[in-house]
Symmetry: C2
Subunit: 153 residues, 2 copies
DNA sequence: TAAAGCTGTAATAGTAATCATTACAACTCT
DNA sequence: AGAGTTGTAATGATTACTATTACAGCTTTA
């Protein structure tokens, strides 16, 4: 089991918007080039991020922009925006436990609270990581390589 | 994204083995009846649990048995046995970030440590839950309903 | 020792999810 | 008006999960 790559793609996208947004239009095509992910997928991810109030985009005039300060966007916000984790949660129950069996009848109830706690532990960790950290680290690691890439576009 | 239902199925199976194991042969067929999961799937899950040293099974003579005390089996052990989480981890990276882009070049490295921490937080929670708890709670909830079910088999 | 009941495992199929891709209408800006 | 974009629907390839059928091999017991 794994999260969709849309999650890391979304973080990548948002980092690009912040890093390059000052000087150029960050279009879905540009983001496709940086992530290696199809431009339509990028637009879909952007649509989900927009729905969550994380970015602004507009039809016609290209270019995505952050809708919030970097340090107010956590990885949890992005995860919620992009992964469909609403309904059932992280764990997927087998669907037809036998209600006539005392174990089958109760296993769901017995596990539910505990599994929610596990999920919450993961989500809390995600809440503690902001995009600001990601961007800062990325800038530190790549201080020297910006020039060329910008020229390419 | 979600975990396979094999995980909750495995917990259900192990609970049954402990609860019913004293008085009857807990076969894949019996477990199929309790979980509502196909008997072949049950046998596959049992095979994985056996590989992890959690249960013993033998060809011919039916009936699975726990290979360890209840309080030495954590949900983490079961999760590791049953989900294939070894290689890439919980998060799935988009596979072709552009190495010529300073963001694409570094995003993986920047996120990796943080995502590992998130995964570890979840796994630590799983390590804190033992099968002993699950069985105890199940027994409490179903004290009155065992008789009938046993008679059915 | 033969029959009955299990396990282990391979092969096949249905279903759902993910991602890529094509296509095109609607919008913005020059 | 035309070029460049976004938003979105439709289609297809690939992969994962689960169910199911089939059968060889093992154990127990009658």
């Amino acid at each position: 089991m794994q999260m969709t790559s849309k999650f890391t793609t979304a973080v990548h996208i948002l980092t690009c918007i912040d890093v390059f947004g000052d000087e150029m239009r960050v279009t879905s095509d540009f983001l496709s080039g940086s992530t290696g992910v199809n431009a339509v997928i990028i637009r879909n991810v952007l649509a989900q991020l927009r729905g969550a109030g994380i970015v602004n985009t507009r039809q016609g005039s290209g270019g995505a922009h952050l809708a919030k300060p970097l340090n107010e966007i956590t990885l949890y916000d992005i995860y919620r925006a992009v992964e469909c984790v609403d309904d059932e949660g992280l764990f997927h129950f087998h669907e037809n436990p036998n209600a006539r069996c005392p174990v089958g009848k109760n296993i769901h109830k017995v596990m539910d609270g505990r599994l929610s706690a596990v999920q919450a532990a993961m989500e809390n960790e995600l809440k503690n990581i902001t995009l600001a950290e990601i961007v800062t680290d990325t800038n530190l690691k790549s201080a020297h390589s910006f020039y060329k890439w910008r020229r390419m576009k």
